[in-house]
Amino acid sequence: MSIPKFIVITGHYGSGKTNVSVNIALDLAKKGENVTVVDLDIVNPYFRTADFEQLFKNNNVELFKPVYANSNLDIPALDFDLMSLRDTKGKVVIDVGGDDEGAKALGRFQKVLSGNSTVLYVVNKYRYLTSAPEEALTLMREIEYASGLKCTGIINNSNLGDETDAKCVENSLRYADTLSKLSGLPIAATCCKEEYADRVPMPFTVKVFVKKPWEE
């Protein structure tokens, strides 16, 4: 399957969009792609893709971030245009803010993105308000409405932070499956650790980059 130019990562607050985005970007870079990551989060004050500037630099990944990201200012301003990225070489991974509020930022880039992107909806069964497939579907529709884009696939990133184990991921498979049937969208990937990658469908082995300061 060929990957479109823009890979848009959306989902509920705290579903793990940032960690998924970082993993996808590094994975593509490892495969020799030119990769640009865009931190399009206008909602979250901390724990965002812009935190990984050095990691990206070390892996030849370009980073676009809002001018006030990680500053002391609480201004949701985007001082760049995705149009300028349309003709660059390689792939662009866009980490969007949570929920429909965060997805609003995508609206203005709709023209650049439609027909040129895959929009992945990240879900975590263990998050409140999306722990039932029906709730996750409702939120997906809200995100689609706010962004003017249609989701094209589901990433099952069900996890319990540092308490995540194989059982935790296995217990989320039926949830992801039901959401897939309800929405008619394929499961693009199930995020997991290498040890139990053989026990899940469409495994995508991820590392945990989003850490607390005492875990580093």
Binding site: P45, Y46, L73, P213
Partner: protein, 355 residues
Amino acid sequence: MAEKKLMKGNEALAEAALRAGCKCFFGYPITPQTEISAYLSKRMPKVGGTFLQAESEVAAINMVYGCAGSGIRCMTSSSSPGISLKTEGISYIAGSDLPCVIINVQRGGPGLGGIQPSQADYWQVTHALGHGDFHALVFAPASVQEMVDTVTKAFDMADEFRMPAVILADGLLGQMMEPVAFDDAEIKMSDASNKPWAASGHKNARKHNIINSLYLQPDQLEDKVTARFKRYEKIKAERSEAVSDYCEDADIVVVAYGSTARLAKSAVESARKEGLKVGIIRPVTLWPFPVKQIQAAAENAKKLLVVEMSMGQMVDDVKLAINCSKPVEFYGRTGGVIPKPAEILAKIREMGGKD
């Protein structure tokens, strides 16, 4: 226990409040605590409670004042500059002997400061949360699960002693995600039963209750305040809490609270691996301050080290706790900068005679 959920600290505080029977929430948005409001705006109507976004922080705390007077469990939350605005109302609430819960998810200051985490409101919350002779209960949880457990405790103790209770968090605790479990009990909203003092409607069946902080005669007011301070003495003697680790044989005892205690503990564990005898004590209640626990933890220590995300606001309380019997040093970062475990470790090494 139900299945664990992954929650942001702010969301967990909000959900825990509902489960503690908090029927009314009055708030005004400010980073980094806005998720509390956002969460309750969605959840409150579903469980039969009231969410109200006030026109300002001042309005919100005065709505809490009114609601608390009716005997209903209620809460407000804000971050540092917003708490400063609330202090007048908090003083009135304390002066009227009313229970409520106030959450402060601290950010950098003074002034508008910044939106990154901080612990620079320690002096305010423990020593001067408004004008007049009064205290509030102050809890300083260090994990998302502990925040959940603390909310119930804060409501219970506020009711028991008829005084405001503050949960002092910081941006890091509010924004980070950790797995949490809530017990399965059904959500039951509070009412004024068991609160014979509440202005909840007397229906001509009893004398009317008056909620007030104004006393016309100075000696009347003095009696009120003196009675309140007698209650404070009981709380100080019986209800202070702290958690200590590795203190028994420690030469250096680190004192830190909230998220900083987790950074410091990580540094202490690294120091132990290097053979340095270091322990840590974490005050869980900041008022009442855990004086006895700190004395006990420091008994065999040569030096103490206070670590904070501020310029060192808890240092004097630690010195007083041990009657200045040992040197108390300080390491901290401020303005929204989080101290790294490696920096704290370097300070420990320096104090332990290693560089």
